[in-house]
């Protein structure tokens, strides 16, 4: 019984949100862009062969300007930049979405532990979260990656830290508001395990900020990943991650500026789309903003 009510409630929340989101032009533009990008990224796997077309080099046709054959030109080892951008969307999007996901899971667990158990666990977790929150995420990532070495896994871990702290805060706050309320007490009384309580009550309670935060953090993380590439500690070559492409191109700023400019514009468009969507969601999900 209870579940059906929740379902209808959440369905109506979703449709209500969608209704409001549709009014936001920026968010819709962002959403369309992202959908197209994801489809293109998925399709690129069927269109291109990774070994020959994405990382395969062809020194004879290096540094060619954008043309009808190479829409975005070729880079310093003769690879088609357009193909690498499309294929690179898989890396950039999955690395950032992946690290946000890792951050989301650890954040929810830590936040819930801190919220439910309180006391020392709360103190320790939240103190560490405060410290990590105070240090800019790029600095945390720099420290972690340069100490652990730059592999894709370490990159994911490093980028997930700041996401984890922010989700831990959101979850803890949500736990604090519902803790002590009757239905939680009774759920406890009938022996419902904590993780079920978290899934059924805590997360739905803070779903809006989580959704908004996820959207925005994916954008931030794309930028952070590209920044690490710029500092020389990002995704290892020859993967066509956008940030790596951009930093490889920075020595060509004047002789072949498109190598640097195109990935930069793509990153900008993607992050902008995510930000517009995130902002739109924030407005649509936040009842205070109802007009």
């Amino acid at each position: 019984m209870e579940t059906t009510i929740e379902k209808t409630k959440s369905r109506s929340l979703a449709s209500e949100t969608w209704r409001r989101l549709k009014k936001n032009k920026g968010a819709i533009i962002g959403l369309i862009f992202l959908v197209v990008l994801v489809i293109a990224a998925l399709a690129s796997g069927f269109i291109y062969d990774y070994d020959t077309q994405i990382i395969g080099q062809n020194i004879s046709q290096r540094l060619q300007r954008p043309s009808s054959e190479f829409w975005f030109g070729t880079d310093q080892v003769g690879r088609d930049i357009f193909a690498r951008i499309l294929y690179g969307a898989r890396y950039s999007l999955s690395i950032s979405a992946g690290s946000v996901l890792i951050g989301l899971i650890t954040g929810i667990i830590l936040g819930a532990v801190a919220g439910f158990y309180g006391g020392l666990a709360d103190d320790i977790i939240m103190r560490i979260a405060d410290v990590l929150y105070a240090i800019p995420n790029i600095m945390i990532a720099v420290v972690i990656v340069s100490l652990l070495g730059s592999s894709t896994i370490n990159l994911l871990l490093a980028l997930s830290v700041s996401a984890a702290t922010s989700f831990a805060r959101i979850t803890r706050a949500s736990v604090m508001t519902i803790r002590g309320q009757e239905y939680i007490e009774s759920a406890n009384a009938i022996g419902m395990p904590n993780w079920k309580i978290i899934l059924k009550h805590v997360i739905p309670n803070c779903l809006s900020p989580i959704i908004v935060q996820v959207t925005l953090l994916i954008g931030t993380t794309i930028i952070a990943a590209s920044s690490l590439s710029f500092l020389g500690i990002g995704v290892p070559a020859p993967a066509p991650e956008w940030g790596a492409m951009l930093s490889e191109g920075r020595d060509f700023m004047r002789s072949a500026s498109y190598i640097c400019i195109i990935p930069g514009l793509v990153i900008m468009a993607t992050v902008l789309a995510l930000n517009l969507l995130g902002d739109g969601l924030r407005d649509a999900l936040d009842p205070k903003m109802k007009t």
Binding site: K23, N24, K25, G26, R127, I128, D130, V131, A134, I135, P136, N137, I138, M139, V142, V143, I144, S146, L147, L148, G149, G219, I223, S226, S227, F230, L231, G243, L246, R250, M253, R254, S257, C260, I261, G264, I267, M268, A269, V271, L272, N275, L276, D279, K288, M289, T291
Partner: protein
């Protein structure tokens, strides 16, 4: 009030302990032998050993950490492995550059964001709103270093208006500050917009309007003053973030700030320098946050009353 400040200062201590612990141990537990780096490319194993002795790297890590913390209590952050200079002195010599860049970029962000935030709030849901927000989001949607490179090519190379790098007077501050500042603009604009939206619908605004004050006066005088608290929070947060977070802009513009200091010395496994600099940064950031909290009190009498009661 003083009691409150004291309490906040004491709360900083565990944060600093945790930071120093995490940084010190992670610097030491990863690969890359500092002695080998200091001794140089052509050193013999005996020399590497000698350097290790000199740096005290033969002690167990716990002892080393305790020694380091012991020094810290006496106000001694140690000596850099690489430069052999006092860490605190080096930090302080880099601090002005960092503060300069941080304040300048926050100033630029504020100059852009607050008018933009108000503009979008007043025109909520119109195309002006959308255009304004897209504009505000540009800065945060670009990789910082990329914007920096583009600005250098445009304003330094092609137009010759500003120097491309280094820190020599006011002109050299402009490009780095714009680069960092535009990255901060989005959040401040967004906060300004939403807190303005909150305020715009309040009763006293209606009263002011009814009293016949001009719309502009209503918005700026009554609206902005009341919307200011969340904006200040965000500005404070941003300020503490740019203190160490501008490592990329510092790299692009060769700005001699703290972010680059830390980054350079991480790769050299210079534990005292990295730990010391990060500790100093966290102290600084806590202080900034404290100042922000105190500033609130002056803008909001209710909060002030709370502090005084305590």
């Amino acid at each position: 009030m003083w009691k409150y400040i004291l309490k906040r200062l004491i709360q900083m201590i565990p944060a600093i302990l945790i930071t120093s612990f995490i940084i010190y141990f992670s610097m030491n537990l990863t690969s890359g032998d500092p002695a080998m780096l200091v001794a140089g490319e052509k050193a013999t194993p005996a020399q590497v050993e000698q350097v290790r002795q000199e740096l005290g790297l033969n002690d167990p890590i716990v002892i080393r950490y305790l020694k380091y913390m012991g020094g810290m209590i006496r106000g001694d952050l140690g000596t850099s492995y690489v430069t052999k200079q006092d860490v605190f002195k080096t930090f302080m010599s880099r601090l002005p550059a960092t503060l300069e860049l941080s304040f300048a970029s926050v100033l630029i962000a504020v100059l852009v964001s607050i008018p933009l935030g108000i503009y979008t709030a007043v025109n909520q849901n119109s195309w002006k709103d959308t255009a304004g927000m897209i504009f505000a989001l540009f800065g945060v949607s670009m990789p910082n270093f990329w914007l920096g490179l583009m600005l250098i090519v445009l304003f330094s190379l092609n137009l010759g208006w500003f120097p491309s790098s280094g820190r020599a007077g006011f002109q050299s501050l402009v490009l780095p500050a714009v680069t960092v500042g535009l990255g901060l603009a989005a959040l401040i604009t967004r906060t300004t917009r939403s807190s303005m939206l909150d305020v715009i619908r309040q009763d006293y605004m209606r009263t002011a309007r009814a009293k016949g004050a001009s719309e502009r006066r209503v918005i700026y005088k009554h609206g902005l003053n009341n919307a200011l608290i969340p904006i200040i929070t965000v500005i404070g947060l941003q300020l503490s973030n740019v203190l160490t977070g501008s490592v990329l802009a510092e790299t692009v513009f060769s700005w001699p700030g703290i972010g680059r200091l830390i980054f350079d010395h991480i790769s050299k496994r210079d534990t005292p320098m990295v730990t010391g600099a990060i500790i100093m940064c966290s102290i600084l950031m806590c202080l900034v946050n404290l100042v922000v909290d105190i500033v609130y009190a002056f803008f909001d009498p209710r909060i002030k009353a709370q502090y005084v009661q305590k």
